[in-house]
């Protein structure tokens, strides 16, 4: 059989710049390269010498889609370094802010970036011609999530109200209550979303992944918990770097993460869901089951269903948090910087986001390390393609290429994050 090359110069409907090169020799894939040409931006370098209080605002600029995640991981890392205790009402508001980002980011990915793949449209705007109600529902759902971030964060992209220790200002209770009406609609709309995505033609594909996510004793994870995996990892956030490492590969401006044994692993909605199904409220579990999911999901193409389930959870949790709202005595707790280091790991919409900082005697950052979800998933994405392509060689070239692109989009990759990703080239030699 002849040799083929699948090549995508510039992967669309992902955040950032990357391409894909797949070389096929006979029935064997000889090479898969996810090429990251998003220019490097050197955040870890220019954070050195900046004041600890600047980290949430500066690191937010790594990603315009999940700035809240960066702000949260940065705050938790600093608070860890300084031994600051965050009172429960502020902790609840951080969860609420994260709910807003999950709803906004998941709705964006489900409706505008991923669903068009399953229905065969180039984009959501073309999809809207045939499925106007679905696209309008997606946009309104996205807006409902953004409304939370707008109120509590000040604006949806790069919020300004988050600081180490809490918030600059807490809006009045009546302003939170005003969000509830639309969130009730959003909860119904996300239930409808779960049903809608479950009806999409989703390819059969499964792999035995090592899933990694936070796990919390009582809650579905956002900000806190231990880092666990389905292979027995159960560690404190502080032990992250003893178990996971980054390597630098030639075809990528993003570092690739792996376990210390050099194995790929999977972070993000599938991992969170599969490791924390028992932490979802029973009616959310019921919605997942009705959509055909088990308690563990190993088909990355079903990530779109899992995102819808998480959106439902986030709407529900946001309503619960608003209902239980309690005005903190002060919008933030004073933190006293001290020499030392601290780390934080929170669940960005795309998966676990790890930050570690070392702070000097002037409160300045002397060393920073940031591991975004997409760099942790890059190796897994390449492995998916190694497995997917040989099984689909009978497909026409343009269809196979599209399938490969969709397989990358399963991860909602954020290339700007990973370079702190995509062009597709499938080369048949």
């Amino acid at each position: 059989m002849k040799n083929r090359t699948i090549k995508v110069d510039y992967l669309a409907r992902v955040e950032g710049e990357g391409g894909l090169l797949i070389k096929v020799k006979g029935n064997q894939v000889s090479e898969v390269k996810l090429r990251i040409f998003e220019p490097p931006r050197f955040f870890e370098a220019f954070l050195r010498g900046r004041h600890f209080s600047e980290a949430p605002d500066i690191t937010a600029r790594i990603c315009g889609i999940c700035p809240v995640a960066y702000q949260m991981s940065a705050c938790h890392a600093m608070e860890d370094a300084f031994g600051a205790q965050i009172p429960p009402p502020i902790r609840s508001l951080r969860r609420l802010l994260y709910c807003g980002e999950w709803i906004e980011s998941h709705a964006l990915h489900i409706y505008l970036l991923h669903a068009p793949d399953f229905l065969g449209y180039e984009d959501a705007i073309r999809m809207a011609k045939d499925h106007p109600d679905a696209v309008k529902r997606g946009l309104r759902l996205k807006k409902a999530g953004n409304a939370i971030v707008n109120l509590l964060g000040g604006r949806e992209i790069h919020p300004i109200n988050v600081r180490v220790g809490g918030f600059y200002k807490i809006p009045a209770k009546s302003e939170f209550l005003a969000l509830a009406e639309e969130l009730k609609w959003a909860r119904e709309a996300s239930l409808e979303t779960v049903r809608w995505v479950a009806s999409l033609p989703i390819p059969d594909f499964e792999r035995d992944y090592e899933f990694v996510s936070l796990r919390h004793p009582d809650e579905y994870p956002f900000n806190e918990g231990r880092i666990v995996s389905n292979r027995g990892t159960d560690i404190a956030v502080r032990e992250y770097e003893q178990h996971f490492a980054e390597e630098h590969v030639a075809h990528s401006n993003a570092l690739h993460s792996a376990t210390k044994e050099g194995k790929s692993y999977f972070v993000g909605p599938l991992a969170r869901y599969s490791l924390n199904f028992d932490r979802l409220p029973s009616h959310v579990q019921d919605a997942a089951r009705a959509a055909g999911l088990g308690t563990v999901c190993r088909n990355p193409f079903q990530g779109i269903i899992v995102r819808a389930v998480e959106t439902l959870y986030a709407c529900d949790e946001a309503l619960r948090l608003i209902d239980a709202f309690e005005m903190p005595d002060r919008p933030f707790v004073e933190v006293e910087p001290r020499v030392g280091s601290g780390c934080g790991c929170t669940e960005a919409p795309r998966g676990s986001l790890y930050h570690r900082y070392r702070i000097d005697e002037r409160g300045l950052i002397s060393d920073a390390k940031i591991v975004p979800p997409t760099s942790q998933n890059l190796k897994t994405i390449e492995h998916d393609l190694l497995d997917l392509v040989p099984k689909n060689l009978e497909m026409q070239k343009d269809r196979l290429q599209w399938r490969c692109e969709a397989a990358v989009r399963n991860y909602d990759p954020c290339i700007s994050c990973a370079t702190h990703f995509l062009r597709l080239e499938i080369e048949k030699e």
Partner: protein
């Protein structure tokens, strides 16, 4: 014959994607915009690419690699009206902090194999490389200002984006001055409006997302900061944010770097 819809293209250079996301964040206006223009190249939203030339190009991000320094010329040649959007495209962005340091040292901090990385010494705005028809400021841009720019273009008029300071917006909004009343350091007096004076309304000082206003008196503001007890090092950091390489902010920060 029906009139041809203007072709819109969105381009990305070194950035966080937040500014082009602003277009997708126009939940109420997106379908109307898509009705008024042909979205001809917008990789973040679509895998379909329509060949140029384009009537209007939105350019996000700064120029940081030799390849991008070439690419922007091709985009300029293919575009009738080119708008740079956001602090990266208009001032070099947060990644322009490298411009004050040795970039080689930066590469070795982040990457184990510096030889794999190709990058320019400086992160520079689009206007340093090609003629730009309009610059839309912000980190991120204000999505309503983006709709205003598109609407102005479609109707053949000049975009209405005020060049005055954040201070004016505080007054319009009725926010009490956070510098006078609470002693906070605030870049509002030298920063261009556009955010609706967001930070002071949330009880914090402006940190300069929209870059320098027209004719900013940065020296006078720096003197106030010094009087309030700010050290030179702190002053340097205050002016070196997302618009660090915008001329007035760059000059002021260098004045205090001894």
């Amino acid at each position: 014959m029906p009139q041809r819809k203007p072709k819109l293209a969105v381009w990305k250079f070194s950035s966080c994607d937040g500014c082009q996301l602003s277009l997708l964040d126009c939940e109420d206006e997106l379908l109307a915009v898509a009705d008024a223009v042909e979205i001809a190249n917008f990789p973040e939203a679509s895998r379909a690419v329509v060949k140029g030339p384009y009537d209007i190009s939105l350019v996000e991000g700064s120029i940081t690699t030799p390849h991008d320094a070439e690419r922007i010329h091709g985009i300029r040649r293919a575009s009738k009206f080119l708008v740079s959007i956001g602090a990266c495209a208009t001032a070099g962005g947060i990644q322009a902090l490298r411009n004050f340091k040795d970039v080689k040292e930066f590469i070795s901090v982040v990457y184990a194999r510096p030889d794999y990385i190709e990058t320019l010494k400086k992160s520079t705005p689009i206007t340093d490389h090609v003629f730009v028809d309009f610059e839309l400021r912000g980190c991120p841009i204000n999505k309503l200002q983006l709709v205003e720019v598109l609407s102005a273009y479609l109707n053949g008029r000049k975009p209405n984006t005020p060049p005055h300071s954040v201070c004016s917006e505080c007054k319009q909004r009725g926010t009490v001055c956070v510098m006078v009343a609470h002693g906070l350091t605030c870049l509002g007096p030298v920063t261009q409006a556009g955010c609706d004076a967001l930070c002071p309304a949330y009880a914090r000082g402006c940190f300069g997302c929209f870059g320098p206003k027209e004719t900013p008196n940065t020296a006078a503001l720096a003197a106030w900061f010094t009087q309030a007890g700010m050290s030179d090092r702190e002053l340097v950091r205050a002016f070196r944010g997302f618009n660090a390489y915008a001329e007035p902010f760059r000059r002021e920060s260098e004045m205090h770097e001894k």
